[in-house]
Amino acid sequence: MITAERKPLEELIEYIKPFKRILLLGCNECVTVCAAGGRKEVGLLASGLQMAMLKTGNNIEIRQHTLERQCDPEYVEELVPMIDSADAVMSMACGCGVQQIAMRFKDKPVFPAVNTTFMGASERQGVWAERCQGCGNCLLGITGGICPIARCAKQLMNGPCGGSTGGRCEISEDVDCAWQLIWDRLKALGLQDRYLDIVPAKDWRTGGGSGPRKIIREDLAE
């Protein structure tokens, strides 16, 4: 999922200060799962903003709404009946959602309420860790299901480096050495021979190196 964290209240107040009627939008997808921008977080932020503004003598009107998926135009259309009654929109979705709203409602200022952080997985309740960087050419098949792009600080294709000590990365004792994990897993699977293959330097054109990427499925696209 895409993970995010709420921005500091102070920054959000600066965004909405000039406006009276705010439409605060949540998203029912990734940001709900990582507890950053779902229906509950929308309620919490609306209440916090309302109180913080009230303290400075500003009474603002916040309308709350959570879309099924903010990155999808068909759900964004739901906002048509309510957009006119808002001076500005604040979105708790990831950057994709914020941009969809901005693109659809060109005359409305749109502000992000969260910092979109990474593509990650849940390690346990309340803990999410980066697992994928969307490099566009998945290596997991040869690295024992552990990604050296997302999980090695140097993104080494043939690791580990000399900074790996006791299975930990030199950047922090809390970070596992991805290449140690890869080796341990390959060994457990009896696939050590894969480790001996030298992986050539990565072609980053599929990973954003040649500009914004797009997928067009001819069978689906209209």
């Binding site: 500091p8 209240l9 102070e10 509950k40 309620g43 919490l44 209440s47 916090g48 309302q50 109180m51 913080a52 009230l54 303290k55 003598g57």
Partner: protein, 140 residues
């Protein structure tokens, strides 16, 4: 504010603090009428939104009363609630509300005396802190 009477919302677990409040009543133990009790099935049921909404509606203080450590009817609802309270305290500071206005307390069902004592202590503390900035702003 002269003659300030704080409004305090106490979210009380059905299995301990709510029963302790009953116990305080049957023992004829007085506690301040400022405390408005909301019964919840477990302190772990409390959500950040419940607490923040209480402050938004003008509460001067909020406390969540759960079972003694290790005694939760649902195993660990009270420890979860305590973590949530710490999270909301930080959020309150961000909003500009003193975090001392929110507290987590632990009471067993038989502690009528402690229930009355906690209610009195918290009411005194909030009275000293004065009205919540939100209540003041709402009154203007």
């Amino acid at each position: 504010m002269e003659n300030f009477e704080p409004v305090i919302v106490a979210f009380c677990c059905h299995y301990c603090a709510y029963t302790a409040a009953d116990m305080a009543g049957s023992q004829r133990l007085p506690y301040p009428p400022n405390v408005k009790i909301v019964q919840i099935p477990c302190s772990g049921k409390i959500d950040a939104l419940h607490i923040v909404t209480a402050f938004e509606k003008g509460a001067d203080g909020v406390y969540v009363a759960g079972c003694l450590e290790g005694d939760c009817h649902f195993k660990n609802g009270n420890t979860r609630a305590a973590r949530r309270i710490e999270f909301v305290k930080k959020y309150l500071e961000e909003i500009g509300i003193e975090s001392e206005r929110l507290e987590m307390v632990n009471v067993s069902a038989g502690m009528g005396h402690r229930f009355a004592q906690v209610a009195t202590e918290i009411t005194d503390k909030i009275r000293k802190l004065g009205p919540s900035p939100i209540r003041t702003a709402l009154a203007q």
